[in-house]
């Protein structure tokens, strides 16, 4: 059983927010693993499914706030891919709340910590990965 959360973090926003959270000494659950990506739009459906195959209990795709993507549409495309991943999970009987797209600004470490904690609570509801 695993309660691991894989968080794909855009290096222009979420990754900086996570870094800032560390610098400010904010605590967030240690079961999260951050994967730095050049843009949330880099995250593909296959990456999300692979994370579940490798035992993740939940996957977060964390990108820039809407309208603030460095690559114009990376975060909106990521949102569409996350929606598609939710459909794919549902098709095989998995709870689609296990994958989520969130927007975080680079200067919002508290929001970053909050979304990790919220996902951790969600895992308690939907169950850990087998």
């Amino acid at each position: 059983m695993s309660n691991k959360i894989i968080a794909f973090c855009c290096e222009h926003s979420a990754y900086l927010a996570a870094d800032l959270a560390g610098k400010q000494g904010l605590h967030y659950p240690e079961n999260v693993r951050l994967i730095r990506v050049p843009c949330a739009g880099r995250v593909d459906v296959t990456h999300i499914l692979k994370a579940f195959e490798k035992g993740a209990a939940a996957v977060l795709v964390v990108g820039c706030e809407e309208g603030a993507c460095q690559h114009s549409t990376g975060n909106t495309r990521a949102k569409e891919r996350v929606n598609y991943s939710q459909t794919l999970l549902q098709e095989i009987g998995m709870d689609n709340r296990r994958v989520e797209m969130v927007n975080v600004a680079p200067g919002a470490p508290h929001k970053f910590v909050r979304i990790i904690k919220e996902m951790n609570e969600k895992i308690k509801e939907v169950g850990e990965a087998k």
């Binding site: 499914l49 098709e91 998995m94 087998k130």
Partner: protein, 219 residues
Amino acid sequence: MIVAERKPMEEIKQMVAPYKKLLLVGCGTCVTVCWAGGEKEVGILASQLRLARQAEGKEISIIEATVERQCEKEMVSELRDKVKQVEAVLSLACGAGVQTMAGMFEETPVFPALNTTFVGMPEQEGIWTEMCGLCGDCFLDRTGGICPMVRCAKGLLNGPCGGTRRGGKCEVDPEKDCAWVLIYRRLEKQGRLDLMKKYYPPKNFRAVKRPGKIQAVKA
């Protein structure tokens, strides 16, 4: 190009339920373009099947492969070594691709993961529309390059019908353009409106004898 869509997951799961070693084969041509059976879709389906089996506590081993064209024996023959390692093949190709695979590897069951739907073209990103009904007796010279057989909801050869909506839409589906309005406008641009006044007798649907076969003559 040939347009296909993936079968429902439940149907695919049932087809491959008895097997523990699978080969998933995509096709790099038509079904890659229509997002149904390319390398990426092979990866997605393989992940889904692995996750579904994990949830059931059963094992599965999947080999993923994509060939340039699954309807060509030469290209499919590259898979010979991989087919030897598995109990069944799941093909993400059109019906021609599935049958080529099944014919090449007769001792291994080959299952279709897609439903082949029509011959069409990409209208816009993610939308494909039917363009050709494969009737074997092309009519496009008389209709300005628009086929009324598949693009008119009623398949009328002498249109339009009385139900054309305002704005040139179809009475059957108001989202769709009336094919005969499109034909009229196209012929008008070409100065060939006289063709609209001609009567065309019912179409000969026996032009293609099933199964169709063409023997090309080398020039």
